[in-house]
Symmetry: C2
Subunit: 242 residues, 2 copies
DNA sequence: GACTTGCATCTCAGATAATGAGACGGCAAT
DNA sequence: ATTGCCGTCTCATTATCTGAGATGCAAGTC
């Protein structure tokens, strides 16, 4: 494969980063691994250190820097949001209700993507909105697959019970009636990351009059399907990582 | 802050990556965000795409690439291993037993760092060794804080019970007697990542004759302290992420 | 359908930054 | 004390990078 991008310095910097993927590396080892001149490697490595893409360990070896962890977190969020868009639009159209994706942030859940029902009576949750982890079907989903300690802590003062969460795990989806807001019903299902861990929840929400007292019976299948699609979408580009 | 590293191309590439941290970005937006000339940004961005540090989305906007996720995973592993070294040496010296750090990998646990007792009767577990998740105090720790479904699946055919794991969660440490290997006893405690989630286990192991039938009584405190130190060490450099 | 606008992409002459041989200092091993 | 290796620094030389301007394309407007 042609390894030249047309920008020599970036090609060389990428070689340095590739070499550091194996672990802490001395300058001499970097020189050997990259085949570049020693002062060249030194200068490029220091430049990468300056930008925190690389660091130095206690033996003064070069290591991958914390900035790559920060950028990776942003990259992960990007992919969830990018993949969520079309899935939520389809879900909104299929159900006629507003659809959202929530992620957990401590004791809150945050809406990171949203597709609103455009007309009529609807539940509006703008992107960025922080909602409680103590009520609502998305909270039930985000909590159901937490470890025991976090589960117990999360249930404290919650509008739902351990039995409800056991049902969520069994069925693979959650429903709520007026938990977060009077008159609003919702259905949610889990989105799983490449490791299988629950990283987000897909939800629809709307007035109880339309969603009835059993919104799950009406919509659980299509919400679960949307969540599964999102789960699959997040797998596709990380096969090389697997 | 002086933003010049001495390698202009790397400075510019870092500006591009910084701009992409906010999300998918068109070329025009990158030009605006970086203040660089349009063909310069174009050329640098394509070079970063070539090395998968950047990607293009379905609207042809530039996004952070999967390579940064790969490098971040390597960086995370680096930091755990780097931080583990001194902690395990101190633990080995304090207890007179071999000490290890394990991470979970599917149905196995892998030794990622090790400090061996140098002489006499000792338990040797080289770095890279894969051990079962069905037996041993480290397996108990790595399983105790999993979600309910993974907990149930993990207990299937395990040498320990739900009651044992409940005790691990309550005490914050685990002990085992001859679970993995006849005559070997061990004590383990959880290492938590910045999010509070259990990401690894610190262990000591050795002959039952020395560790007695209650190795936890002898060593749980110092093992737990070592795990807490490792947890703290992993927090320090990620404050800026928090 | 024609025209305009804005964006992405490409070219290449010229200027500048990057290169790397060699020097230097520090440190560990002998 | 000596030697060898490593990391760091300097600077003359040269190759790379730059960015103004051209080109092509798509979308919007009339």
């Amino acid at each position: 494969m042609d390894n030249s991008s047309g920008v020599g310095v970036i090609d060389k910097a990428a070689m340095v980063l590739d070499a550091l993927e194996a672990g802490p590396t001395t300058l001499a080892q970097l020189v050997a691994a990259t085949g570049l001149a020693r002062p060249t490697v030194h200068r490029l490595a220091l430049a990468l250190v300056h930008h925190r893409l690389v660091g130095r360990d206690m033996q003064n070896r070069f290591v991958l820097g914390t900035r790559v962890v920060e950028l990776a977190a942003a990259a992960g969020e990007d992919r969830l949001i990018a993949s969520a868009g079309p899935v939520l639009l389809a879900l909104r159209d299929a159900t006629g209700e507003s659809a959202q994706v929530f992620r957990r942030q401590g004791e809150w859940r945050v809406c990171v993507a949203s597709a609103e029902r455009p007309i009529g009576l609807r539940d509006t949750i703008p992107v960025g909105t922080q909602l409680t982890m103590k009520a609502g079907s998305a909270a039930q989903v985000l909590l159901s697959w937490e470890d025991h300690d976090r589960l117990v802590e999360g249930l404290h003062n919650a509008r739902f019970t351990p039995t409800v969460l056991a049902g969520v795990r069994r069925r693979g989806w959650a429903q709520s009636l007026g938990e977060r807001e009077l008159g609003v019903a919702s259905v949610s299902a889990p989105v799983r990351g490449p490791s299988g861990r629950v990283i987000a929840a897909v939800s629809i929400s709307g007035p109880m009059e339309r969603l009835t007292r059993q919104p799950g019976r009406l919509h659980a299948e299509v919400v679960s399907k949307a969540a599964a699609e999102l789960t699959e979408a997040l797998k596709v580009s990380t096969d090389s990582v697997a």
